[in-house]
Structure formats: structure tokens, C-alpha cells
């Protein structure tokens, strides 16, 4: 039996994770999916621990997912959201961190619109910090649950080419998917409008295992899977895109495009979806779609991380 180790205090980004660390989380995620399938969907390792959900940027699905995960491990949960909190009243992040630290949570799960905010918080608190999404930078739990979902569907990801299409420039999901899928052996083809792709990546200085193909049809030819990213409507108003209609026609996932992939290739989306823009309803709810599995697996992945950070003695 291999003896795994876990030494991380925080989960801020999976960019510097080893393959072994990713595999450990995926292994534990499998065990957690079993816990969620029991009559009593609960286990005790975080009993007496407090998980603080600090969501300075609004999100229902991710927050609820973390809340379910924490409760499934018997933790107490405290919610701090942007609306109506001191964050809204103009309290600085520094003040908020000091308050959180004084209140004494064991784990802080945070989502924030500023890239890097979790590093700021982690440096100023004794709690463990899990990044639930920071600006454009990282969404490590999404990257891990996407890896878990794809592995469950496809098996070994070595040699599999996965297309990630959409507004990559502003996407923390795209970055985190690269960080987890490439170490597991997959290659990533990024696709989308050139104005919504980081210029360094468009001009060839891509991370290892990643290529760029603006033509989505060509990118999907023979691909093993596709992940569609949410397109925010404001992008069309900001001079980066001519119109949502043009985006939907050129980079939207429709039946014809999806059929260009391998026959068993699944379709994924981090949610929430703009049906009719980046993905057609029939594709989103069709046979290839793993979107519902992503949501289910999300709770299990988050349980796995909470256990490693606060339930496992290290």
C-alpha cells in the first residue's frame, strides 16, 4: 500500500500540486461519494469544528455545495456573504480577516472577486483557507471536481485531449482545469475569441500541455471531452466581443459541433449556464452531459478537502 502524505495548510490554487496530491484528493472523493449515498449521509470527523463560508462574491451553488460538504462531515457552518454584511458597508478585507480570525473558525472557505484575495487572508489567519474562487485566478475545487468527473467517465486521462472553450481570459475555472487535468496526463486545447484569451497564451507562451485553437470546430475534431465556460453578458458590451449572437454562432456548443468529438466524449460546464449562448439546451441536458454529475461530485470533492484540512490530523 502506498503511504500518502498531506502537508498543505491551505487550498488556494492547485497550480503547484504534484500528481500524488491530486490523486489523494480524488481517492478520498470516491470515499466521500459513498458517504453521500448512505442512509445517514454523515460522518463525524469535523465534529466540533467550525467552517466559515465567507462569500464576498455572490454564489449560490458553490456556497451550498460547501455547506452540504461541511455538514456531511458534522462541522458547524457559519455563513458570511456580501449582501448586508460589513463587507457591503465598506469594511476592508483586512478588517474582515481580523474579525474572522478573532471569531476562531477552523476553516475559512472564501470566494472573492479580487484575484489573490485568499493569499491575503491565509497570511493573516490561523485558520485553514480554501479558495472557492478568486477573481480570474483559480477555482481549485472546480478543477478537482472536473478531474474527478472526467476520470470517472473516461478512466485514465493519459493522452486524452480536452477542449476548454469560452472566455479563458477571465476564467478561473479554465486555469484550475489546466492545473489538475494536465498533471493527470491530459492535454488541453483552449478555444474561444482571441480577445478573450490571455495575449501571452495566444502568442505561444502557453503553459505545458496546453495549445490554443481559435476555430472551435477544428478544436473539437476527435476531442475526448469539452468543457464550456460561462460567458458573462457584459463582455459583449465591453468592446471585447461584437455581440452575444456572434459568440453563440462561432463558439457555442451545439449538437453539430459536439458530434465532431469522439463518440464517448462528454460535455461539461461549471455552471451556471447561459443556455443559448455558450451551450444549447439540448446539449446541456443531452446524453453526453455530465453537468449534473459535476454538481454531485462537487460536494464530495469539497468533503475530501475539508477532511484533509481539518479532519485529518497532520
Amino acid at each position: 500500500m502506498t503511504v500518502a502524505t498531506w502537508a498543505r495548510r491551505h487550498v488556494l490554487s492547485t497550480e503547484d500540486w504534484s500528481r500524488d496530491e491530486i490523486e489523494l484528493v480524488l481517492e478520498n472523493t470516491s470515499a466521500m461519494t459513498e458517504v453521500l449515498s448512505r442512509p445517514v449521509r454523515r460522518a463525524p470527523p469535523l465534529r466540533g469544528r467550525t467552517v466559515v463560508l465567507f462569500f464576498a462574491e455572490a454564489s449560490t451553488r458553490t456556497r451550498v455545495s460547501f455547506e452540504l460538504a461541511a455538514k456531511a462531515l458534522s462541522a458547524d457552518v457559519v455563513n458570511i456573504s456580501a449582501a448586508g454584511s460589513s463587507v457591503e458597508k465598506g469594511e476592508t478585507l483586512l478588517d474582515t480577516v481580523r474579525t474572522l480570525d478573532a471569531l476562531g473558525g477552523d476553516v475559512i472557505v472564501m470566494r472573492h472577486s479580487a484575484s489573490g484575495a485568499p493569499y491575503f487572508v491565509a497570511a493573516r489567519t490561523t485558520a485553514a483557507v480554501i479558495n472557492a474562487g478568486d477573481g480570474w485566478h483559480a477555482h481549485p475545487t472546480q478543477g478537482l471536481l472536473d478531474a474527478y468527473t472526467l476520470r470517472a467517465a473516461l478512466g485514465d486521462l493519459a493522452g486524452r485531449r480536452i477542449v476548454v472553450v469560452g472566455d479563458v481570459l477571465h476564467s478561473r475555472v479554465a486555469r484550475s482545469d489546466i492545473h489538475t487535468l494536465v498533471p493527470l496526463g491530459a492535454s488541453i486545447t483552449l478555444s474561444g475569441p482571441p480577445t478573450l484569451m490571455p495575449s501571452a497564451w495566444r502568442c505561444g507562451a502557453l503553459p505545458p500541455g496546453v495549445t490554443y485553437e481559435p476555430d472551435l470546430d477544428r478544436a473539437l475534431d476527435g476531442a475526448a471531452a469539452v468543457i464550456a465556460l460561462r460567458l458573462q453578458r457584459e463582455r459583449a458590451e465591453s468592446g471585447l466581443l461584437p455581440s452575444l449572437r456572434e459568440y453563440a454562432r462561432t463558439w457555442g456548443l451545439n449538437e453539430a459541433r459536439v458530434a465532431r468529438m469522439r463518440p464517448d466524449a462528454p460535455v461539461m460546464h461549471p455552471g451556471p449556464m447561459n443556455e443559448g449562448i455558450e451551450i444549447e439546451a439540448s446539449v446541456a441536458h443531452g446524453a453526453r452531459s455530465l453537468i449534473a454529475a459535476q454538481v454531485t461530485n462537487g460536494v464530495a470533492v469539497r468533503m475530501a478537502l475539508l477532511y484533509l484540512l481539518a479532519g485529518h490530523p497532520s
Partner: protein, 407 residues
Amino acid sequence: MVLPARADLERRGLLVVPGFVDLHAHLREPGFEDSETIATGARAALRGGFTTVCAMPNTEPPIDSAGLVAELMAKGAAADAARVLPIACITRGRRGADLADLVELARAGAVAFSDDGSPVSDSRLFRSALEYAQVAGRVVIEHPQDVSLSGNGVMHEGAASAGLGLPGMPAAAEETAVARDLALARLTGARLHLTHLSTRTAIELVRQAKADGLAVTADVTPHHLALTDEWVSGSRRFAWEGSEEDARQGAAIPYDPNTKVNPPLRTRADVEACWAGLRDGTIDAIATDHAPHASIRKEVEYQDAAFGISGLETALPLMLAGVSAGRAPLETVLRALSEAPRRILGLADTGDWIAIDRDAEWTVDALELGSKGKNTPLLGRRLTGRVVIAVVNGKVRYDAGASAAFA
């Protein structure tokens, strides 16, 4: 304090040179005294070896009237540390809409004009400024930045910003602005000084312009000669150091707001171009762009942090490190720190001098910095080289304790 003999100091192994002249520093007074005052800035300047420091006018109110110039000079004199010379605004209120009374400002004591912090984006107005400044007899110092291209960027646009998920300021935003500035300098025949250049392409444009005979000068900052955009990702190695240095220094936490500066820290190729410019004279001077900030402006999310590095006290050791690494001869660097800024501003040699201990090792400690601005990414870093004595107007105005050795 007894004035030590220069020869004595040299015998003890110290390097005795003319005092440095910083043609670009922000002393924050009036208006932002929580970040720095003229007194604290002038003292910090001396500690860094700058016996003359020029104060940029982006204060509150901005220095666009003779009265404010006079007030600044009086405060500088009262500080009794480095000489403080005022730079006055190009445009009234620094609003970039119409010219300030440049002739009157020059007569009141302004040594140059600049709207630094901002470019003068209106090209027609900038042309007028260049033409009119000639009769005022002072050089125009322009901060070259195409603000529509740089947008809401907070760091250099490149591979590092792509990975960090931060909006970037492309090199092109400096290049297009410099191109415009040089075209207008050519059109007007005026003297122009471009401050804090940071990109390979902009420096190349200046090189060509100088070859063409344009009366343009340029400076770079010490941080643009040593640090790269990788510092935002957490690297702590100087541009010429190998990756082992990161292992030695230990990686820093990414998104340190002390790395946020405008123009941003750029790539290694850009840093190399800055050194090449210094070596071949394309870059005339080194100026600190000392930009102190109270911690409430910096201890926030990266995107909200103020731009600026507090640089007066770390300029010398950074430059000495570059010299040790063979980036440029010591002579070139020393000239860029004293003779060239004097020449650009048309200042007489004051005879001020400093003594430097090239081998003194010290750690950058917030509590020991003289400036109120502790915002430097070099906090905690061990540096080599420091000023031990600074003599202004024939009197020792700064003594790091070296005089005890000569008692």
C-alpha cells in the same frame, strides 16, 4: 559634527563620490502626509545617498502655482537634510486640460515640469506644453503611458499576468506613448525627458531618436533594473540571478501589493534592455520614482492597492548588485545617479558628496527605513552596500555611525 577628510574615508575602503541627484521622487506633502512628508522624505533621500531630491507635484493640492512652489522650497529648507527641488505641474491642477503658468513657476524655483502620475494625453496640449516650456527654460518630464491601452491593468501584461489572473498593462501602452512624445519633440524642437522607461521597445525608439539628433533624455528606476513581473507571482530573484536564487531566498507569497508599481515590473528581456540602454547612453539617468504609501493604501487586495515602490533607500544596493553581476560598469551607474540628472535639469554642481561602504550588509527592515513608506518588495531581504556619510552644503547631514571609526 566634524567633517571627515575624504582621503581618510577612502583609505578606510569607503567609496567617496558626488552626492546623487534624484530627479523623480514623490514626497507626498501637501495632502498625503500619512505616506511621507518633505522632512521624512528628505532624510530618507540622504540615507539613500541622494543629496538632492526633486519632488513631483502630484500632491493635494498639486504644485501648479508660485505660492505652492515657494512653500515646498521652504519646507525643504526646514528639513535640513537633502536639498529638495520642486517640479511643477505642466497643466493646471494636473487636470491635463490647459497649461499652468510655466514661466512664473520656473521663476518661483521649479526645476522642471511634469504631470507625473499621469501623461498629458491630449497631444495638442502636450505639443503646446513642449513649445511653451522652452521659453520657461525648463525641461518637460513626461510619464509616457497610453491610458486607454493600459486600461485597468495592475501589472505587466504577459505570461505572469495570464497565470495570476490579473489585468495587464501591455508594453505597447508605453511604446505608443513614447512614439507620440518623440514625434512631438521632433515637431517642436523642444527638450523632452522621458521618465521611468521600462520596455525594450520604448528604449529602442529613444535610441533611434537620439541617433536622429533629438534633444531627448530618459531615466529608468532601480526596480526596473532588478525586479521582474515574476515577483508578483512570488519570485524573489533579481533579473540576472538564476532559479537557484529562488530556492535560496524562499518564494514569497504571490500578489504582494508591494510589487504593484506603474510602470509595472516587466520581463527579464525588458530589464536587460534597460541595462543595455544605460550602458550605451540611450538611458541617461537613474531616478528612483520613490512612491511611499501608508499601509492602508497597500494592505488591500492587489487590484485596489496604490501603485508605487518606496525606493530611495534601496536604490544604491540594487545598483551595486547589478554592477557586481556585470550589468554595467560602476562608473556608468554613478554618473547616471549624479552627473546626468544635474545635466538634464541644468543644475550646477553643489559639491555635495557621500561616502559608501560597498561591503556593508544589511537587511531591509520596515522599522529601520527612514521613509514613512515601507512599501518595498525588498522587505526582509539582505542587501549589500550602504551610504555611511552624506555631506550637504559643507556639513555632514547624515552619518550612519561611521565617524566613530575616525575619532
